[in-house]
Symmetry: C2
Subunit: 124 residues, 2 copies
DNA sequence: ACCCATACTTACATAAATGTTCGTTCCTTA
DNA sequence: TAAGGAACGAACATTTATGTAAGTATGGGT
């Protein structure tokens, strides 16, 4: 993702929306391409970096690193580092991260319903 | 937004996630920068293009056009065109679009809570 | 001395989303 | 004849997100 440019119009718009609208603020926390997959993996388990990677087929190590870092900064997950060899790092959902799960479930139900609706429309 | 490149890895990943995971599918429908603002405007009203534009301070006509088009393609909104002069076009939330509102409300509550939590953390 | 695995990091390249500017079409009114 | 508002569209530039390939640090095992 790289650094963002705090002088751009785009950045300013994003900030304004995130400040004024909690829905937009929330969506910004979860719209990363792999974040929901990671949430799903960590739903009922505390996992290591490599375990997450193996459960998400097409993710690269770079993207996994970036998304985990972002989630940690946003306090959606907790990170545990064990000074062993080889290094062991584990991740789990935070309390506030877990609070997202039931909402995501409803959003998923809506998405499922929406998809079926669109497919039915396509037939007509 | 322009055309997307259906041969890219990025596109393929997005497709796979949207196919397999209804949560990711749903987030894709609402992650556009201005889509939630538009939903908010149309929550209780059927509005013209220019009315929406005036209610969302920093949006450009181009972005409003693009996001409305995307929402219409995804059947989140309905578009009514009246052959008058000057031209009149109105938009309103579809049934399935309205179904999103209560979920967004819960997401907004969570976002609000999350934001306050982060701010409290920053004090410590 | 060398290799191994883990969990990254860095540099670079591409794709996608958003922003800026200008133009267009319709008909009406001045 | 000119001007004007509504709702866009096109060309181009910038910013952000994602992908690819390679390298690093660690310390133990062989």
């Amino acid at each position: 993702m790289g650094k963002i440019k705090t002088s751009s119009t785009n950045f300013e718009n994003k900030s304004n929306l995130a400040t004024g609208c909690p829905e937009a603020y929330a969506v910004n926390l979860i719209k990363g391409q792999w974040i929901l997959s990671i949430c799903y993996c960590l739903k009922n388990a505390r996992l290591r970096f490599s375990e997450i990677r193996n459960q998400i087929p097409n993710i690269t190590e770079r993207m996994l690193t970036l998304q985990l870092k972002q989630m940690e900064e946003n306090k959606l997950i907790l990170k545990y580092v064990y000074a062993e060899v080889p290094l062991r790092v584990e991740y789990e959902l935070s309390e506030i991260g877990k609070g997202l799960l039931p909402i995501l479930e409803r959003l998923g139900d809506w998405g499922q319903h929406h998809r079926e609706y669109l497919e039915a429309e396509a037939f007509k």
